[in-house]
């Protein structure tokens, strides 16, 4: 293996090249597609097609129906954008994205817009531009109906189940280091542990809890939030203020006709318990009230 050291040398070099590329791509205006000279919206109109990155296996936000059609809460927003921008909701091309490929798809100009349930975080804000939000997510805790726990502080001397590395895990470890946590690697394992009574409560993103409580009667979600609510928003390439502003005005317009509520009724409502308020999940008009 006389070539092995050579190969070892090359791999990190290429890694560096990739990293250098990441930094470079944050410099707006460099790639041809988003240059300020030609309007980005005109570019989309000239191609007569809006290209949107969506999830294709995350119901109810983006999935494939029995007819093989891409549908869902996020996906249908993309269709509506195409209708309002290009006059026809079929003038949209959906690209199947994965959680880890969402940002590269924007950075490399492969898509105009990502509509794939992306939570706004400070780190991601460095890499892409978020529009106003269309959804919200918060961490809450679920307990059995018969549990004496009424508010968050009642959990101080109880066992709380968390999934390792989630927002709930991080928040509890930081803010209540003395509370007893029972950690599992996967959300499904944590839910099974809760059902088997191995802990008194399970703290997790509230949509997961709402959905699980709907399918498993006998549990209630504590109204108190663990930490702040986080917005979920569409994203455009860093520096593409033109498209971002258009999406923001479009979200405001759709808010007036309660379009997101319609999509919520169509896709999301049946997943959640009957007493879930739509406002605890969707953000109409892009108006964020944190």
């Amino acid at each position: 293996m006389k070539t092995a050291p050579f190969a070892k040398l090359l791999a990190p070099l290429l890694g560096l090249a990739l990293l250098a590329g990441c930094n470079k791509s944050e410099d707006p205006g460099k790639p041809a597609a988003a240059s300020p000279a030609t309007s980005y919206l005109e570019t989309i109109k000239a191609r007569d097609k809006l290209i949107v990155g969506v999830f294709t296996d995350k119901p109810p936000f983006g999935f494939v129906d029995e007819g093989g059609r891409y549908v869902g809460f996020d996906t249908d927003i993309g269709r509506r954008f195409a209708k309002d921008l290009l006059g026809d909701e079929s003038k949209v091309e959906f690209v199947a994205v994965e959680p880890a490929s969402r940002i590269p798809f924007l950075q490399s100009d492969k898509v105009d817009l990502i509509l794939a349930n992306m939570t706004v975080t400070p780190e991601r804000k460095e890499a892409v531009d978020f529009t106003n939000p269309n959804l919200r997510v918060a961490v809450q805790a679920i307990v059995a109906d018969g549990s004496p726990v009424q508010k968050l502080d009642d959990l101080a001397d109880k066992t709380i189940i968390v999934t390792t590395g989630t927002t709930a895990d991080i928040w509890l470890t930081k803010n209540h280091p003395d509370w007893k946590l029972l950690k599992f690697e996967k959300n499904t394992e944590s839910l099974a542990a809760l059902a088997n009574g191995r802990g008194d409560a399970y703290a997790q993103d509230n949509l997961i809890l709402f959905s699980w409580a709907k399918q498993n009667p006998g549990y209630r979600v504590l109204p108190q939030l663990l930490g702040d609510e986080a917005p979920i928003a569409p994203a455009v390439k860093k520096g593409n203020t033109e498209l971002r502003d258009w999406v923001n005005s479009e979200l405001a317009k759709l808010g007036e006709e309660k379009f997101l509520l319609k999509l919520y009724d169509q896709y999301v409502r049946k997943e959640l318990s009957d007493d879930t308020k739509p406002e605890s999940v969707i953000v109409e008009g892009g108006k964020w009230q944190g």
Binding site: A7, E98, Q107, D109, K110
Partner: protein
């Protein structure tokens, strides 16, 4: 849900078939380029040119050291960022699988050519055969026997590796299966169908390789 299992499979069939079509198309084109490129690599590597060999070695080590997944990312996302060159996801998958396969097949071809007795090359040259004739009539036909079984093994790896294309947006057969599972929760049924698909594609290949190996062993 026993009776609806068959029903679900029937409903899902067009969607799975579309994904299977993508998998087969990418694999077939990838295999084609891997074979053509591999033979070219093998011939070039046995010409005895020092500089050519260094170049081929760099190419080989780049594909040996860097995972196919990273190559997919580099070509699909890296080229547009660095050079403004955007390749559609399907052709990007074909290109990367083809280049990766060519480096693997190329080493097999090189090994097979070098394993031939030196006398074959010398005899060919001594009766006045040119380069093309030497390789086309003497060396490659004899090397074919030695390189076929390991090459078919590479083909099945190309087919299975094509599923990585999902990360650059190609909805191949496994992704199509996952889309159906997330809608229906019928994971055992769908993964069973995927198992069957890959088995039916790859098994005949390895069976053919074994038959050829046995036949040529007696030739």
């Amino acid at each position: 849900m026993a009776s609806s299992g068959i029903e679900l499979l029937l409903v899902s069939l067009p969607q799975l078939a579309t994904g299977a079509g993508q998998t087969l198309a990418i694999s077939a084109l990838g295999i084609l380029f891997a074979t053509l490129g591999g033979v070219l690599y093998g011939v070039l590597a046995t010409l005895g040119s020092r500089w050519l060999n260094i170049l081929l070695q760099v190419y080989l080590e780049l594909f040996r050291a860097i995972p196919v997944l990273v190559w997919l990312y580099l070509v699909f996302f890296g080229l547009p960022i660095f050079f403004g060159l955007s390749i559609p996801s399907f052709w990007c998958a074909v290109l990367v699988l083809g280049l990766w396969g060519a480096s693997e097949v190329g080493e097999v071809v090189r090994g097979a050519l070098q394993s031939l007795p030196r006398g074959q090359r010398e005899a060919g040259l001594s009766i006045g055969l040119g380069g093309w004739q030497l390789y086309g009539y003497v060396l490659l036909p004899q090397a074919l026997k030695r390189m076929t079984p390991p090459t078919i093994n590479i083909y099945t790896r190309i087919i299975k590796t094509s599923s990585l294309a999902v990360l650059i947006g190609v909805v191949e057969v496994i992704k199509a299966g996952q889309q159906i599972i997330e809608r229906t929760y019928e994971s055992v049924l769908i993964y069973g169908a995927l198992f069957l698909f890959f088995f039916l594609v790859c098994y005949p290949l390895s069976a053919a390789s074994r038959v050829l190996e046995r036949r040529w062993a007696h030739a």
